[in-house]
């Protein structure tokens, strides 16, 4: 075991991967927790697809650089988020149906451009990420996103808690409640982009949702859920990377998410708020 770890950490790319996933875990944990609490778990997946056209256009026009990915993805993601909120406020469609419609359009545009660009696009890396090839620019991206994300979360944490727990009361207390909603969507898109390069479009949301849903089974306080979400995310990343190293044909993204999935299953089975705990089917309020 010690030999394995020693050998693994001899490689610079593995050391980088461990560091970048630790930072990523700290950054995505609060986003994941609030995605779950705001009943937006599936919306997170939809947003991951919604950023696709921006990322693809960025890639086609400026290559696979961090800046093209960041700006392309941000424009596409925020565009879909703002349009979703606009349709939900001003038409009969609710936000889930608006988001589903818009992300499908965005995804189709992304795949259309991806196909038109042909074999130049590294499809496997696009879908599953390339955590083993994280460069300096990617590390700066993840570090920058984590800094912005954590500081913003500290600033909006209390309004975010209030708008999630009791949205009607929150709207009665502030003049522009949409700032918190859209601020959260901005953080979601930003973190998706940070996770996108390392985990890929299909797996990026997994690192947000699974540790957060697992943490939900263990604690009745938001503070403990945020801390547990980070710990579960970190364990998933580091065990997943090790698994991927031991089994060289295994892509790192799915390996990480599989570990997160195992933690979720164990939490559902043994957590105090899980299947055997106080939230059994007959006791739900």
């Amino acid at each position: 075991m010690f030999d394995l770890l020693s050998e693994m950490f001899n490689y610079a790319f593995m050391r980088r991967a461990f560091v970048v996933t630790a930072i990523l875990s700290a950054s995505v944990a609060p986003v994941g927790a609030f995605l779950v609490l705001r009943r937006l778990s599936l919306a997170g997946e939809a947003m991951a697809h919604a950023i696709t056209p921006g990322v693809v256009i960025g890639f086609v026009t400026a290559g696979l650089s961090v800046m093209s990915l960041l700006f392309g993805g941000l424009i596409a993601g925020l565009g879909v988020a703002v349009m979703t909120a606009y349709l939900a406020r001003n038409t009969i469609l609710r936000s889930d149906a608006s988001l589903a419609s818009l992300y499908l359009i965005a995804l189709a545009i992304g795949i259309f451009i991806l196909s038109a660009a042909g074999s130049a696009v590294p499809l496997k890396s696009f879908l599953f990420g390339s955590i083993l090839g994280v460069d300096d620019a990617s590390m700066i991206l993840v570090g920058g996103v984590a800094t912005v994300s954590l500081v913003t979360f500290a600033l909006i944490l209390r309004p975010l808690i209030m708008s999630t727990c009791d949205p009607v009361f929150f709207e009665s207390q502030v003049k522009r409640p949409w700032i918190v909603d859209q601020g959260f969507m901005f953080l979601l898109v930003l973190n998706l982009l940070a996770a996108f390069k390392t985990l890929g479009t299909l797996m990026a949301v997994g690192l947000m949702i699974l540790p957060a849903t697992a943490a939900r089974y263990w604690s009745g306080t938001i503070t403990a859920q945020l801390a547990l979400g980070f710990i579960f995310s970190l364990i998933s990343c580091w065990l997943g990377l090790t698994l991927s190293y031991v089994l060289p044909e295994t892509p790192s993204g799915p390996a990480i998410i599989l570990v997160a999935g195992a933690i979720f299953v164990l939490s559902a089975l043994f957590g105090p708020l899980g299947l055997r705990g106080q939230f059994s089917a007959t006791k739900k309020p």
Binding site: L37, A154, L155, I156, L157, R158, P159, I161, M162, T164, C165, D166, P167, V168, F169, E171, S172, Q173, R216, S219, G220, T221, I222, A224, Q225, P285
Partner: protein
């Protein structure tokens, strides 16, 4: 004493539909105004308009002593997430969130205020309980403690007793009487006329496109309740049985 809020010629509605028009009323400190009316008569819309969440079709809302920095508000529980992972004391503290430092915990003064609010609502012993363990009545007490924390001169309550037992209702009514004695004005949407008759100073009856405001005894007459669609004439006859001259009990 100047009113906390003064409503001038107010008309509310949506698009082409007018819920009521030409409402004039003053709500003074220490008064308790019951908003009564049939479903769809505009009770919750009236509350939302006072909160600034909705614009009136006509008329205006004036604040003679200045618009309060806080308006205490207890909404209906339709969108409240009872499984949200916070403790009872955290919910109460939300009432004073605007003064919090985002990078620090609550100071001692605020923590003491939270304890006092929970005590007044009768749930200090449940302060550290997770929210999802509370019954409907205890949750309503916790929400009252949040309103207490708001420390507002005007308090709006939207159907505050709709899901609570008699004992809890009595306790919450005593909290409301404390607010009244402190000179706060309370406006609450209610369906239970006995609570209105026993505890409110004024009533606003909405229905059939009209809004009638005055003291409880002037407004809650059988004739008006029937004319504004709140109850049928047979219900009114039964409720006001034994009375002559169309007055209240």
């Amino acid at each position: 004493m100047p009113p906390v809020v003064s409503i001038k010629n107010l008309s509310l509605g949506f698009g082409d539909i007018t819920l009521f028009d030409s409402l004039n009323c003053d709500v003074k400190p220490g008064s308790i105004l019951a908003v009564v009316g049939a479903n769809g008569s505009g009770k919750s819309t009236f509350v939302k308009t006072l909160l600034g969440l909705q614009s009136p079709m006509n008329g205006r809302i004036e604040w003679p002593t200045g618009k309060p920095a806080e308006i205490g508000y207890l909404a209906q529980l339709t969108e409240f997430d009872r499984r949200f992972p916070i403790r009872v004391r955290d919910l109460a503290a939300m009432g004073a969130w605007q003064g919090f430092n985002p990078f620090a915990g609550l100071n001692k003064t605020t923590r003491n205020r939270v304890d006092a609010a929970l005590k007044m609502a009768g749930i200090l012993d449940l302060a550290d309980q997770p929210l999802h363990t509370l019954s409907g009545g205890l949750l309503q007490r916790a929400l009252f403690s949040r309103v207490i924390m708001q420390d507002a001169p005007l308090i709006l309550l939207d159907e505050p007793f709709s899901a609570v037992d008699q004992y809890t209702e009595q306790h919450l009514l005593s909290v409301m009487e404390t607010w009244q004695s402190e000179g706060r004005a309370v406006i609450m949407v209610l369906h239970d006329l006995s609570v209105v008759l026993d505890h409110c100073t004024h009533a606003l009856l909405l229905g059939n496109g009209r809004a009638s405001f005055g003291t409880v005894n002037d407004i809650l007459t059988p004739d008006r309740l029937v004319a504004q669609g709140y109850m049928s004439s047979s219900q009114a006859s039964w409720m006001f049985r034994g009375q002559t001259n169309g007055g209240t009990r």
